[in-house]
């Protein structure tokens, strides 16, 4: 291709998009298409849908759209061939508020049942029954009776009316797709007294959880930055909290700190450290006074933060260790020659080298801790002053069955998050390659 180009117009490299490059471009789009399709469908779509739901008055129960329920039975107790009997359909609108339109019932008449009389709305074609009922009111009930006589085949069969299930078709307004908007959800969550305390708890949890994990990780990395026998094993052990399933470690902590049968409380009371067992995950606050000023120590929140730091220190530990091992040792040798003490070496050489990775880790962990739901939900269920925004989404949406309010809280989560992400993009040091 380039040879041809040079022949035709020997004026430097070709301009514009050549056919080969175009082919490459399309190939790239084709290869990325499935990834983007699924991400749009499962991540971007729901994000937008969440905004939609947050301005709609939708309850958990609204997810089941109104429909007509039907129940079929045989009446009249036919005993011999030729007896008359009745096939009865009981119909009911499942909703007390919504009408259902264009209701049509279709069913197959059981074998051996000879129809003698039909309700007006129904029509029979061979054994196929079609009843066109039309629009029904909220809370509507009706019985459709089909009279007929039975034959030997009908009596011989066990519950012959069960052979085919009646099928109901009908349209109803679905609250999710209607254009019925409200700002009640936002009004409700912002005016709730606990919302601001939830917000405060979220920030405490995020900041101290992140900080705790980083400090523990930095310390652990210092421990393992020397060569000794069994270092691999210790490193593996230190990663356990991070790689284990969250349900396993969360429930273990709950059992470990249980006020009645927990090991920690048993140890503390038996060894005389405390007189009464402490309910680490259930007690909102411990009151104490500092210089005569009454203060509160948020116990459950602190325990949850400790769990967060415990579970995620391995991640920062791994990153910091990797960074420390890539620091050039010449620098330390030079410092050693100049008589720098170990703490000076750490403070003036190691720490500045680690600042980059530490700030990236802080921002990443900050966002992920902010997003965290599982841990608190499993440890306290958001009780005892540990409800964060993410737990509040669940609480509003599913525990209180108000999907709209839950989505509104999720919108708050998302807005706060976008703020952080913007900061992250702006301040992330590029050279760390994250």
């Amino acid at each position: 291709m380039s040879a041809q180009n040079q022949n035709s117009e020997s004026l430097g490299p070709p301009k514009g998009v050549g056919p080969m490059q175009r082919r490459e471009m399309w190939l790239a789009y084709l290869m990325l298409a499935p990834t983007f399709a699924i991400i749009l469908m499962i991540v971007a779509g729901p994000l937008l849908a969440n905004f939609w739901i947050s301005v709609k008055p939708v309850q958990l129960a609204d997810l089941r759209p109104p429909t007509v329920l039907v129940n079929e039975r045989v009446r009249g107790g036919p005993e011999a061939a030729g007896d008359s009997a009745e096939l009865e359909y009981r119909l009911r609108n499942s909703s007390q508020e919504e009408e259902v339109r264009d209701v049509v019932l279709t069913d197959a008449i059981p074998a051996g049942f000879d129809v003698t009389a039909l309700p007006d709305v129904c029509a029979l074609d061979e054994s196929a029954l079609t009843c066109t009922i039309g629009t029904v009111e909220p809370g509507w009930r009706e019985r459709l009776k089909i009279e007929g006589t039975v034959t030997e085949a009908f009596l011989a069969a066990n519950r012959p009316e069960r052979a085919s299930k009646p099928v109901i078709a009908g349209d109803a307004d679905n609250i999710l797709t209607s254009f019925d908007f409200t700002l009640d959800n936002f009004r409700r969550i912002f005016s709730a007294e606990e919302f601001w305390s939830v917000l405060r708890v979220t920030f405490y949890y995020t900041i101290f959880g992140t900080g705790g994990a980083l400090v523990l990780g930095l310390f652990a990395a210092q421990l393992l930055n020397t060569v000794f026998k069994g270092r691999g094993i210790v490193r593996g052990l230190f990663l356990f909290p991070y790689v284990s399933p969250v349900i396993a470690v969360a429930f273990t902590w709950v059992v470990l700190f249980d006020p009645f049968s927990g090991t920690v409380n048993a140890l503390l009371t038996k060894m005389g450290v405390v007189s009464d067992p402490i309910n680490f995950f259930g007690q909102r606050a411990i009151e104490y006074s500092l210089f005569g000023i009454p203060m509160e120590f948020p116990l459950a929140l602190t325990t949850v933060i400790a769990f967060e730091a415990w579970r995620y220190f391995p991640l920062s530990f791994l990153f910091i260790l990797a960074r420390m091992q890539s620091i050039n040792t010449d620098m330390y040798e030079a410092a050693e020659m100049d008589g720098a003490t170990p703490l000076q070496q750490f403070w003036y050489l190691s720490l500045p080298q680690l600042m980059g990775i530490l700030s990236v880790l802080f921002l990443l962990r900050f966002i992920w801790t902010f997003n965290k739901f599982d841990d608190i939900f499993l440890l306290t269920g958001g009780n005892a002053g540990t409800r964060t925004l993410t737990v509040d989404v669940y609480e509003q949406g599913f525990a209180l069955s108000n999907l709209g309010a839950g989505a509104a809280v999720a919108v708050v989560v998302f807005v706060v998050l976008v703020t952080f992400a913007t900061l992250f993009i702006r301040f992330s040091p590029k050279e760390e390659g994250l």
């Binding site: 190939l27 994000l47 969440n50 490193r235 284990s244 399933p245 902590w253 927990g262 170990p342 839950g406």
Partner: protein, 410 residues
């Protein structure tokens, strides 16, 4: 003789004396179930004096006789026994004598060993700032090791041991985390047997394995071509696309839960494994794509160009050159995605109602009720943890690589 140096040696001995006896006493309590009260004051003073003896002996330069560490150990033993009236754990000599003796030996040797390592080279005379800081750091590291090992290992130890107990023994003495061999193997593993026979855990295990493996396969099918395109092919929007993929894993799952719950309910996908297998890959693909493209960039493009020159198509190049060269990356991505899918809790919890298709996470949550005894819950936790930990330990090198390369989502 300098007061500062004496103080440093004394504090070192004090710290190790106290740490050692507390750790050993707690361990003794958990192993035997007898409440061992550590006589911390006595042990601290014993450690303090023995450290001074050690430093004095070490720096006196005397030849022959007992080595300095043995002298320190003997000093510690004598002082500890005197100070605690021959009951360092506040237990009478008759209770669990073998364990007590062992614990005493471990306490003294542990304290002495730690002290001698920390104070190796220390003097009672003047020491430079450098020498003192070396000792500070040794102490901090030593204490750090003890604390980290305890906080990491204790929960897992409690998890395993609780799962092997029976309800009565747990309530009778929560401190008794010993293995009671007298009840036989049946009694020991009763919780596990009941989980597998009555609580359907065999099925949960299979479902979890199926979901995790399927997620890995789907993720690779999607992310390998995507990563290749981002790393090798030139097209407009390349930088934007690879950046926006990163942004995806900042999106909190809880924001997606309500819309997905609503939509999946309407589509009838909610209470199905298909639903999970749509959501899981969507959350893992961005991470996998990010990890893989980093690796693909590291493969010399000359190799691929040579393949193209020799008449391979792009697909041929990927299958015959790129993928075989990136097997380590594929392995770490697969393991990593497997772990995410295996450990996933939120969507499994929200979507699955039908006990026939519970994943392990969902199954263990269903054990968390007042009707199910605690040891069953812990046994469930062990069942959920063991496969992940086995895989992790087996492939640790790959995984650590993957964890740092992909900057794991947690």
């Amino acid at each position: 003789m300098r007061p500062g140096s004496i103080l440093l040696a004394a504090v070192t001995g004090l710290i190790w004396g106290v740490t050692s006896i507390v750790v050993v006493a707690v361990t003794l309590t958990l192993i035997t179930g007898e409440v061992a009260l550590p006589q911390a004051t006595a042990a601290g003073i014993a450690g303090l004096i023995s450290a001074l003896v050690f430093v004095w002996r070490q720096s006196s330069g005397a030849e022959g006789g007992l080595p300095a560490w043995a002298l320190a150990a003997i000093t510690m033993f004598v002082l500890l026994m005197i100070g605690s009236f021959a009951a360092p754990f506040n237990l009478s000599l008759g209770t669990v004598p073998v364990w007590q003796g062992l614990a005493l030996i471990v306490t003294i040797l542990g304290a002495t060993w730690a002290t001698t390592v920390c104070l190796n080279g220390a003097r009672l005379g003047a020491m430079s700032r450098y020498e003192r800081e070396v000792i500070y750091i040794r102490i901090a590291k030593g204490v750090g090791f003890v604390i980290f090992t305890i906080i990491v290992a204790l929960p897992f130890y409690v998890m395993v041991m609780t799962s092997l107990k029976s309800q009565q023994t747990l309530l009778a003495n929560p401190l008794d985390l010993s293995i009671d061999l007298s009840q036989g193997l049946d009694g020991l593993f009763r919780s596990y047997v009941e989980l597998f026979t009555q609580f359907n855990f065999g099925r949960y295990l299979l479902v979890s394995a199926y979901v995790s493996v399927a997620t890995v396969i789907l993720t690779l099918l999607f992310s390998v071509p995507g990563a290749y395109a981002v790393s090798r092919l030139r097209f407009p929007g390349q930088a934007f696309l690879s950046r926006s993929v990163l942004l995806i894993y900042m999106v909190p799952a809880i924001v997606l839960v309500i819309p997905l719950y609503a939509v999946f309910s309407q589509l009838g996908l909610r209470n199905t494994l298909t639903g999970l297998l749509i959501v899981y890959p969507a959350t893992t693909i961005p991470v996998a794509l990010y990890m893989l493209q980093g690796y693909f960039r590291g493969i010399p493009s000359e190799l691929e160009e040579a393949g193209l020159m020799d008449g391979l198509t792009r697909i041929g190049v990927i299958l015959k050159i790129t993928l075989p060269l990136s097997l380590p990356a594929l392995a770490s991505v697969s393991l990593y995605v497997f772990m995410i899918a295996w450990n996933e809790f939120l969507f499994a919890f929200m979507f699955l109602d039908n006990p026939d298709i519970f994943t392990l996470s969902r199954g263990v949550v269903s054990l968390n009720s007042s009707e199910v005894p605690r040891q069953h819950l812990m046994a469930g936790a062990v069942i959920a943890t063991v496969p992940v930990l086995v895989i992790f330990l087996w492939f640790e090198r790959f995984l650590v690589q993957g964890l740092t390369a992909g900057s794991v989502k947690g």
